[in-house]
Amino acid sequence: MKLPLSWLRDYVEFDLTPRELADRLTFSGTEVEGIETIGGEFKEIVVGEVLAVDKHPNADRLTVCRVNAGSAELTVVCGAPNVRVGVKAPLAGVGTVLPDGTVIKKAKVRGVESFGMLCAEDELGLSKDHSGLMLLPDHARPGQPLSELLPPPETVLELEVTPNRPDCLSVIGMAREIAALMGKPLRIPEIVLPESGEPVERLTGVTIEDNEGCPRYTARILSGVTVGPSPAWMQHRLSCAGVRPINNIVDITNYVMLECGQPLHAFDYELLEGRRIVVRRPRQGESLQTLDGQPRAIDPDMLVIADAGRPVAVAGVMGGAGSEIREATRTVLLESAYFKPQDIRRTSKRLGLSTESSYRFERGIDVGGVEWASRRAAAFMAAHAAATVAPGVVDAWPTRAPTRRVSMRYGRARDLLGIDLDDAGMSRILRSLGFDLTVRDTDCDATVPTFRVDIDQEADLIEEVARVHGLDKVPAPAPAARLVADADDRPTRALLACRAALTGLGLTEIINYSFLSERLLSFVGYGSPEARLVLPNPISTDFAVMRDSLIPQMIETLGRNRSRQAREAGLFELGRVFGMQPDGRPIEDDRLCVGLMGSVGRTGLGKAQAVEPEDVFQWMKGGLEALCRAMQVPTSRKGGLSRPGIAFEEMSAPCFEPGRAVRVFMAGEPIGVLGLVSERVRGEWRVADPMGVMELRMEPLLRHALDVPAAKPVAPYPGVERDVAMVVDDATTHDAVLACMWQVAPPELVDVRLFDIYRGKGLGEGRKSLAYSLTYRSMERTLTDEAANAMHDRIKAALRQDLHADIRES
């Protein structure tokens, strides 16, 4: 809302600069978003009278004018369409600085010298109007300073009024705030209403068919009006408040609305069938053309103002074209009413039509101020539109809401705010805001004024005390740590530990949106389309589906980075995925996704070496194992090997290379997938080298993260290393070798390391050579060579027998 300060001063005195006032308002709950100055001193700008207008020799749209500047005659090149001999307009001579900082210089315009500028309103910062020269009245004298002809500059505050405070959507409402803040009296204008002629009851009647939608409706009749321009001061105030002046009748209704917050409507009485008002729901098939010329279909649950026959206005939103004020209007029916906020909000939304009027009604206006506004407007019409005011007012207000009373305990207010303000100080604040108080020993009863629609409990009154007293006077003590006995921070600590482990592995965290495009999902082809959660009202097709996996966006992120020339990336995301169960209940699950691209698993000069699919797979697996160790995923085999208890099972999905994807199991429970992205998918981003992704469920991964491990003793004796190299079938897996060893392994076997794999000539087709280094170590003694050899021989024997391994003896 725009608040012109000179207008404000009609109702309250204050000795503050605009900046200081803005701060006071901002810190009492009405945020001032801007301070604007309309108009200016215009020291160097004078009245110029156009003496002659010639066509510009080199430009069709320009003219060359002789201008009488009072003390001299100047040649000025002008582009305004309304320039002609005899008009008077603001003239900015050479050296003048315009409000926007432009300095007028002597200049050649298309070859003709110009010694100044004739101005439009926008160039002077008076309005946005650039349609032509600002024409000055005939009595303006050439050379006269423009400031003598214009109102003094006006400062306007741009306010953001919170939705709970519709009473602040008016100049008087803001004056009341300032009066309370400054401890000054509020001056409500006295209204002297000259009434004569036939009483209003004989001229019109009001029927409210829907008393819930319209609790109060008043009508006044003003006859003999002369429709014409409103007084200049009124037009100026309206312009400053951002409302376009139209004619005296409409301007007065707008002026009073801005002044006290009550929207008013003026009907042409003669155009009302039956000369009366019916407030009702529309009948089947009724429609209305509103003032803006639009035909409006009106729903049965909207509220309309009708005459004896047809609707003439959409209640509280906009009047109808059929009864609007015309130049020929002689008698006005002035509406001032209260409509139910929810109805107006619904109607305004349905029609897609928001007006100054609907904006106020839907927030809640002052039901007690309806008649005052009508009287105020009638008095202005008598004064400025030659109206004769019919005695009395039709005031249909069948059911008055009971007066609201709210009590407040002073001690409770002090406790809740943590301030030390005495009872009297709080009472003073509440009274200054218009509350009537009955004060008792420790509390008070406040009668809530009708304009305060937001107050209905003790806390609301305490808030009034806080904001007027000043939040800056509330202390900000050093915090006191207070512990909640059974508070559990384990899930958070587990998550933090997991993230620390992932960054420790060299992976960088990404965060993607929770929604993505259907296109990306189907293109990647992972997850189950039938369980997807599709947004009914997405902002765009790019964000239309809730993600059911982190994999598609991970692939896209890697791909996007590659298209930005990133050679490699090792990324992770910890995020939530979503789905819909068959019964319509939503599913949410927290996941971890890891993505690798390029030579991430190598360092330094090794990075130049080409990346094979096996490399990426093993980096992924290595990362997974390291993460499992950090997360204390229980080991599944005999103690010595200390391998995380994870297992893999080959799987396939359209986004993975065939044969290069596995499902990951933890203690027999499936917890995710790990695989290499198929060429089809990564090709979308022109990624030619292998790309790996892995997605795991967080819950099983974090289950043991905070377990406290029990220390195991470390052997004090040296270990003995023995190698074994063997040729086996290519199909024999590393796991099979380990399993075979562990079957016969003595407790002294503490470590098995694969150190070479070889396939090639001399081994024969379908064979490979594997070389392992085994460490034997006893907790009781130093192993002798003989003892170690005996153990090693038993293992070799088992390998020969179970795997048909050809053991190479060195």
Binding site: R467, L496, T508, T603
Partner: protein
Amino acid sequence: MKAAEIVQLKEQALDEARRSGTAADVEAVRIKYLSRKGVLPGIMDGLKALSAEERPEAGRRANELRQELTKALDDAKNALQAAERASGQKRFDPTLPGQWRGLGRRHPITQVVEEAIRIFSMLGFTVADGPDIETEYHNFDALNTPADHPSRDTQDTFWLGPGLLLRTQTSPVQIRVMESRKPPVRIIAPGRCYRRDTTDATHSANFHQIEGLYVDRAVSLADLKGDITFFARQMMGADVKVRFRPHFFPFTEPSVEYDFSCHVCRGRGCRVCKQSGWIEISGAGMVNPKVFKTVGYDPETTMGYAFGMGVERIAMIRFGIEDIRHLYDNDVRFLEQFG
């Protein structure tokens, strides 16, 4: 071997040590005299054959031999190494790139969240969580939001079906926590939120908030101010100022908005703070008694404060990020700037 012979042998050994030209020579001398099967162990064995008068002197000389030769060999080795270093043959190029698997980085949003968790942990807050897919009841009704409040419009909220939506704020976690436990409650709830905002430099349809809730028998607006101020100084630096402005939220009464002084210009006014010297962070207030009633707390014996904060906003200020979209673009060049 008698003492005199040992002395003679010592001179010979020291001479050999001194004349060693390479590390291998030095080692050969060591093996010849000092190894298990070398000269010195032989002399030690031979001491037994000497008479009681000769033995102490010979033993002393043999020890001298060991000590002096050991020292001479060390000296020779050091001298050789020094010569080698001086000759530059084994010098490495310290300007070659280092090689180590690097550390990964946490996302700036996460860093702010983790930092907030750290700060509020000091005050005894623990983290609470809630679903992203919320009921209308938890997201609006229980938070005292009127049925026709504009924030419920499909224009602003992602509705999934009747009564089901993507949460527009982390405030529903307040309700879930209060429904499930009795006071005192002291939690923060970081999480994702969703609003149908058109994406631009400062708006994102998907964003993060941190909710805070403290409920006990006596909690005041002053406590809220003190705790938020403490948070601001921990997060932004000791010289940051915090100011509170009255505002309106349906679920708090009184409600405030709070601003941090601009860290870029230190409050003098700059582009980042739009010349105001202040940056709006978020809203807070004293829990509305109507909310207490809804969750079954007695508003007469319970007080509490609640606050929200925009994580992206804080991250943008903390790291000087001028466009929120950078946070969701996941460009590794961008992400690798943050520790």
